[in-house]
């Protein structure tokens, strides 16, 4: 408790379902005959996973990573409760600036940076995913 590692574990716990459901959605769209065909042609279970399922689900994996990353970056509750008071994340600093010390200008700058970063990452990944989809 009260370490950076605890925050990471907490966030993994909270956000894991988002990753699972996003990747599951892209696996659902796959043709179930594909892994069957690979098995018929003699691929082992691990080979099917590595060479067939993973490449095909990659857009979903990337999307899951993006969603989890931006949710983790903007989460307040987990770092506030599980982190040490000494190591700060941007959201807890924002809260301090707005609610405790009333330095709204500095807080607003931090929020703008947070928003710009997460929008930028989402845009970059979306374009990467659509390039991957056209490549398939």
């Amino acid at each position: 408790m009260y370490t950076d590692f605890a925050v990471v574990m907490g966030l993994v716990h909270v956000l894991l379902p988002y990753a699972v459901l996003t990747i599951l959605a892209s696996l659902d769209k796959l043709d179930p005959n594909l892994p069957e065909a690979a098995k018929t042609l003699g691929a082992s279970g691990f080979t099917v996973l590595r060479d067939v399922l993973f490449p095909l689900a990659l857009p979903g994996v990337v999307a899951a990573g993006t969603i989890v990353f931006s949710l983790a970056m903007s989460s307040y509750v987990t770092p506030a409760l599980m982190g040490s008071p000494k190591s700060k994340v941007v959201t807890t600093v924002v809260y301090q600036q707005f609610v405790v010390v009333f330095n709204w200008h500095f807080g607003a700058v931090l929020v703008a940076i947070l928003l710009a970063t997460s929008l930028l990452i989402i845009l970059l990944t979306l374009s990467a995913v659509s390039r991957m989809r056209t490549a398939q």
Partner: protein, 266 residues
């Protein structure tokens, strides 16, 4: 032989994942039954005293009332707007349709903390709105995308010939909407509403900036309680909340399926 080994590894990973996901919940529930004044695991003795204390704690009860009120009203406002928007987006091809859809789903991409500060800054600058009104406004915005998404998902799966058949038999547009389209997509609407209710009830980062001293939602009340107390009354409260959320989540699973609500179909 090789296949057996990989199956055992897979099974082991699966069990480890379940333990990782469920152990904290089990510990919270177990701790809530302990007798000691600090949270201990495994719990010593057995008592329901912390449940009584949680139910008697004024900040929890006021927070519970406010959170239920805000979640119910925000859901009641967001659902009709979301359904109307989803039907308009699904049915018509008008200029700016994609832009409108992106705009309405926008709050999904904006972190709760950013939305909360944005509303706070605007409400302060214009000097309008009580804390309850700010909370309602913010929560409605935050859950609107889910209502639109689940309704859109249900509409996409609806066979368009059913609506055409109704019109062919002489039903007016309004009759088709109320007797054919809406009943057919009702599971999607209900799932979106329940999910929105849970999200609003659970939302803390957004509410942190919209509350005032006398208007505190339950998640925020829990956070401030945990900052200064270590007694198990908060775990007793959590155990009750886990039970309630579990019930609502099962309800979603029965109506539309969790995959449709959370899945990546935007």
């Amino acid at each position: 032989m090789k296949k057996d080994a990989s199956e055992i590894v897979l099974k082991f990973v699966e069990i480890a994942l379940y333990v990782f996901l469920l152990a904290p919940l089990v510990m919270v529930v177990a701790t809530s039954f302990g007798e000691e004044a600090v949270q201990t695991f495994p719990p010593r003795g057995f008592s329901l005293a912390w449940y009584a204390k949680a139910l008697a704690e004024p900040s929890f009860m006021a927070g519970l009332k406010l959170s239920l009120f805000v979640a119910a009203l925000a859901t009641a406002i967001a659902t009709p707007i979301g359904v109307a928007a989803a039907i308009a987006i699904h049915r018509n091809r008008f200029p700016g349709r994609n832009a409108l859809q992106a705009f309405l789903l926008g709050p999904l991409l904006v972190p709760g903390i950013v939305l909360g500060i944005a509303i706070l800054v605007v409400a302060t600058a214009l000097d309008v709105g009580s804390a309850t009104e700010r909370l309602l406004f913010g929560h409605t915005l935050a859950i609107l995308p889910y209502s639109i998404r689940t309704t859109l998902a249900a509409l996409t799966r609806l066979d368009p010939t059913i609506e055409e058949a109704a019109k062919l038999f002489g039903a007016s547009d309004t009759q088709t909407l109320f007797y054919v389209t809406l009943p057919a997509v009702a599971p999607g609407i209900v799932a979106g509403a329940i999910f929105g209710f849970i999200l609003s009830f659970d939302e803390a980062a957004l509410s942190l900036f919209l509350i005032d001293v006398d208007t505190v939602t339950l998640p925020v009340a829990i956070i401030s309680h945990v900052e200064f107390n270590v007694d198990p009354s908060v775990t007793a409260l959590s155990a009750m909340l886990i039970l309630g959320t579990l019930f609502l989540t099962l309800l979603i699973e029965r109506t539309l399926g969790l995959r449709q609500v959370l899945g990546n179909n935007a």
